[in-house]
Each structure stands twice: as structure tokens, then as C-alpha cells.
Symmetry: none
Subunit: 191 residues, 4 copies
């Protein structure tokens, strides 16, 4: 057995870190950031409290890391469909992208909202997310402008609001929300 190389350690560190973040995301989303103690996160992740602080400087840092990763995924999903936004089909792709985030990362999405309503908690993430959203909204506004809509900016914002509104209700009572159907209806309304 040769001693592990530095790279191997790095791999272990990275996966350990991700595992903690995944666990914490689950707990934060399910129970709320404040209601969830570091002790419980460590226990749930199968490690000691001390080790957690080896990977994150604080509970807030852990939250920030989760948020950053989530926002990155958010970006990635959008970039999968990122290109010119001219045709209704392309608009549909955008709408679909929004719904995909709800479908694929429900916990992150839920935590995102939760954090938004707790000023002082991960403010940096809030700002970063809002910027991302603004860019997106501006892209969509261009589409409506091209289409000759009299209120392109508001229309674009409204579309964003709708998706968040649907997400919000989806997390409050998933069983009553038919994402697929709503996706189509929204497209019909905005195309």
C-alpha cells in the first residue's frame, strides 16, 4: 500500500464536502436553516461536529456554499438552453428550463425561497441569484419586444414571477400542482 497521494486526498475532501452539503441541504430545506443545528447536520452526515468545521468555517459558510452550488446548477440548466431567443419554440425551452429547476432541484429551490425571506441570512447568495434572474429577464424581454408586445419588460418579469409562483405553491403542496399541464398553459398564454 503506497501512501495516498495529495490528489487522492483532494478527491476525498471534495466528495466529503459535497456529501455534507447534500445532507445539510436536505435538512435545511426540510426543517429550516435556524431550526437545524450543526450537531444534527453532523450526526445526519455521519461525521463529528469538529470535522464539519474542517470543511466549512461556519454554519453560514456551509449555507453559502450550498447556495453557490445551487445557483451554479441553476446557471448550468439555463445554459443548456442558452442561445438566441427568437421563436416561440425557444421561449418554450426557457419556460421548460424554469420548470426543470423546480423538478430537478426542489430542495435547493425551496431553500432559496426560505433564505430570501430571512434577511441577513446569506445575503450574498440573494444578491447573486437576483442578478442571474435579472439577466434572464432582460433576455426574455428582448423576445417580447421583438414580438411587438407593448410591455415587454413587464411581460418578461411576469413570466419569471409566474414560474416562481408555481414553484412556491409546488413546494407548499406538491400533490395539488400539475407541473406539466401548467407548463403548457403558461406557454400558451405567453407565446
Amino acid at each position: 500500500m503506497s501512501p495516498r497521494t495529495e490528489q487522492q486526498f483532494e478527491v476525498i475532501r471534495r466528495s466529503r464536502k459535497l456529501q455534507i452539503m447534500q445532507t445539510a441541504l436536505e435538512l435545511f430545506a426540510r426543517e429550516g436553516y435556524h431550526s437545524c443545528s450543526v450537531a444534527r447536520i453532523a450526526e445526519y452526515a455521519g461525521i463529528s461536529k469538529g470535522l464539519l468545521y474542517n470543511y466549512f468555517t461556519s454554519k453560514e459558510d456551509l449555507l453559502d456554499s450550498i447556495m453557490a452550488l445551487g445557483i451554479e446548477k441553476f446557471h448550468n440548466i439555463l445554459e443548456e438552453i442558452q442561445h438566441e431567443l427568437d421563436t416561440p419554440e425557444e421561449l418554450m425551452m426557457y419556460i421548460h428550463g424554469g420548470f426543470e429547476i423546480i423538478r430537478r432541484e426542489p430542495e435547493f429551490y425551496r431553500l432559496l425561497f426560505s433564505v430570501f425571506f430571512q434577511p441577513g441570512v446569506s445575503d450574498a447568495s440573494q444578491i447573486r441569484y437576483r442578478e442571474t434572474l435579472e439577466h434572464l429577464t432582460q433576455d426574455i424581454a428582448v423576445y417580447f419586444k421583438t414580438k411587438g408586445d407593448p410591455n415587454p419588460a413587464e411581460k418578461a418579469m411576469l413570466l419569471g414571477n409566474i414560474i416562481d409562483g408555481v414553484g412556491l405553491h409546488y413546494f407548499l403542496s406538491p400533490e395539488t400542482v400539475n407541473l406539466d399541464k401548467l407548463e403548457k398553459i403558461i406557454f400558451e398564454l405567453f407565446k
Copy 2:
């Protein structure tokens, strides 16, 4: 000189209670339920910590009372416009009602969302609010059905989601949201 009458005490109690609730609503909405200590609420309300417990059995009870009052106001605003929902004008009244809640009770609305994303916090209020919403949604669904819409239930739910989505963004960055314009656009989309 002569001892206070029962009625005088009642007046004191009622106004004090409202004062505390108003203060707490402000703070809860601004800083989040968990981030806001009872000590701060008392200080902000200009009373002692102890007195707060003369009016509410616990911090959670204070929150519940605030939520209950808010939901009552919510009801009242809806009942102001409560009648048959047949014509587009009447639908507009409904939409307007939703926006009025955002406009008139922004703090309550914000707290409502905030609470929604903190499981275990005022669950009873969450349930009560959701029930209120469901009734409303069913009323609106009837309108769309009458109009011959193929997905009346989803359309109605979507309308609710939109209003909440707008509210959500309004509270995150009020300066970027033009409520009046959005109200009209939504009406145009759904009438």
C-alpha cells in the same frame, strides 16, 4: 383615584395587544421570525419582556395571533368583492383584490411567505391560509369553466400562483415591480 373599571382594563388590553402585534409583525417581516428575539420585540414596542407574556403565552403564540389577524384581514378584503363571478369585470375585481392585499398588508404578506418556508413554524396558520386559498381558487375555476376554458382548474390555480409570484418578487425588490401595470397585464392575459 377610584379603581379602574373592567372596561377600562379591556381597552388597555386590546390596544396594548394590537400594539405588540403590530410591532412584532414589522420586525418578523423585516428580519425573520427566528432572527428576532422577544427582547428586541419588547424593546421596540417600548415595553418589558415580561409584559409581552401577559398578552401572549409564547413567542409562537404571538406569531400565530399575528397570522390569524392577517388571514382575517385577507378574508375581509376578499369579502368586500365577494359576489357572483361571471363577467370579465368581476374577474378583474378579484385580481385587483389580490393586488390590494399586497398593497395594503405588505408586511403580513411577507411574513406569510416567510412562515411558509419554515416548516414547524405556525403550521396551523399555514393550513388555514391554504384552505382559504383553495376556496378562492374553486370560485375562480367556475368562471373559467363558464367561459369554456379547457383547463379551468389549472387556469384558476395559475392565476393564484401568479399573484403570489408577483407578491414574492415585490417583497424581494419592491422598486423593480410595477404593481399597477402588472395587474392590467394579468387581466389581459386571463380575461
Copy 3:
């Protein structure tokens, strides 16, 4: 209606005071001194907290007053049978006196013990009661000495201890203790 005379007021005060003490004794005995708030005593006595402080300077003063009254009654019961202690019949009277206190004033007796085990609580009463007891013990010791017992002082003390021991168990589980039978057995053992 002529206005009430000062004496009438005094009568009212006295009976009110007694009523409060009786109520408090009940509660203290049932729930313990510390577990029983002034608010509850007042409520239970059908008066306001403020009025209670009109009659007693503090919660401790209320307890002291109850204890003093109880010890007075204790004295009275003993004095009913106070005279020379020469014959076995007279010893029996003493034993009977002890049991009568248990029977007639169970709440006071229970409170007495309870207070004994809480140093700092009504210390004055504790001292006064112990003095009373010592005198009594000395009287009884004379009886045993006269009878030629080799350990009269210890015998007398033991008799006191027994009665308190019986009282103790009687308050812990009254249904298992047959006071009448025990009284006789004790007499047979000591006569």
C-alpha cells in the same frame, strides 16, 4: 345604613386574611411552596394579586403566617392535654395528641415537613417548631425516667420520631396507613 365601624372593618380584614392563608396552605401543601405562584394563590382565593399584598408583605410572609398559625394550633392541641404526665393513660393522651394533629391538620403537617427540607424557607418557623418539640420531648423524658427506663431521653425522642415517621408515611400514601391501629401499637410498645 350607617357606615361600617372600624371594628367591622377589622373583622372583615381578619376573616379575609384567614381565607387567604387557608387557600395558600391548601395549595402549598398540594403543590409545594415554590411551584405555587402568588398569581395562582390570588386567583384561587378569588382576589387580586394586589390585594394579597395588602394583607401580607411578601410570599414568604404569607408562608410564615401560615406556619405560625399552624404551630399555634399545634400548641393548642397539646395544651388540651397538658398536665402532669405520670400514668400510662396520660402517656396515651400524648400519643393521641400527636395523632390528632396528623388527623386534624394534615395539610399543615405536610407543609411543615416540606418546609423543613428547604433551608432558607421560613427558617424562623423551623426554629420555633423545633423548640416546641424539644420542650415536649423533655416532658415525656420525665415520664420514662420516672418509670425507671435506662434511656429516658432517647426513648422520648424516639417516640417523637415515630409519630413524625408515621405522619410522613401517612402523607405519602394515606390509604396504606391505619392511624388508629398504629396509635394503639405504639402505646403498647412504650407504655
Copy 4:
């Protein structure tokens, strides 16, 4: 340098826990359960308040643990002398056992009484102790029955009451109670 083993932690935990219990027993016995704050216990034990909650879930749990340990010791002392109870010598062993508890564990015994007179405080311990006592009483009753005593059950109970009565007075004023002498006198009365 190398991390502590599980066993090392176990040793630390065990001794710390005992240390806290010992300190608390001392204070509870001396000052009463309610009069003794967690802060004082921690200070007296030379630890932080927080650490106490690392070992006990609540102040009541701490008390219960102390009581449970005391009752266990009580059992052990009785079991040292546990066997047939036929001869007067064996009865004397029993009586001696009772006195040994007073002598060896005065603080526990005092706390036991103290708790008995505070309803709602460690009720479970009260019940457990009473059961222990009942078994013991039944054993002793057999002895008296064998001896032909007309009231074996009462005699046995009385013996228990006496020992508790002596204990009670011993803790109220130890300097006035000669345990050795009383032990002999009791044996002479009951043999």
C-alpha cells in the same frame, strides 16, 4: 496527539457525570431542589452551564439520575444483608441496614425526603422508592407473623416508619440524635 479513543471518552464522560451528580446532590440536599439554580450547580462543579446539558437533558433529569443512583445504593445496602429473616439477630441486621443508609448516604436520604414533599418533583423516583419499601415491609411482616405477633403488617410498617422518622430528625438536627443508641433501643422494642 492521536485522537482520543472511544474508551477514553467513555472514562471522561463517566467521571464527569458522577462529579456533576455528586455536586448537585450536595447542593440539592443542602439548599433544596428549587432554591438551587443550574448556574450554581455548574459553578460549584467547576464547569460551564452548557456542559451540564451535555450530560443531562434537564435539571429534572439530573435530579432523577441522582435519585436513581441513590435508590440503587439503597438496594445494594439491603442486599448485603439479604437472606432469611427468622431470628432476632437477623432482624437486627435489617434495622442496622436502615441506619447504615442514614449514616452512609445522609445527603441522598435528605434529598429523598425533600423530594417526597414536593409533588411533581421526580414523581417517578418517589414511586420506585415506595415500591422498594413495600417489598421490604412485607419481608419484615413475615418475621413478625412467625413470631406470633397479632399485627404483623402494622408492626413491620411501624418499624419502617420509625427508621424514617429517625432519619428525618437526624437531618433536621444531627447533633441531637444518637443513632447508635436509638438503633439498639429500637431493636429492644421490636425483637
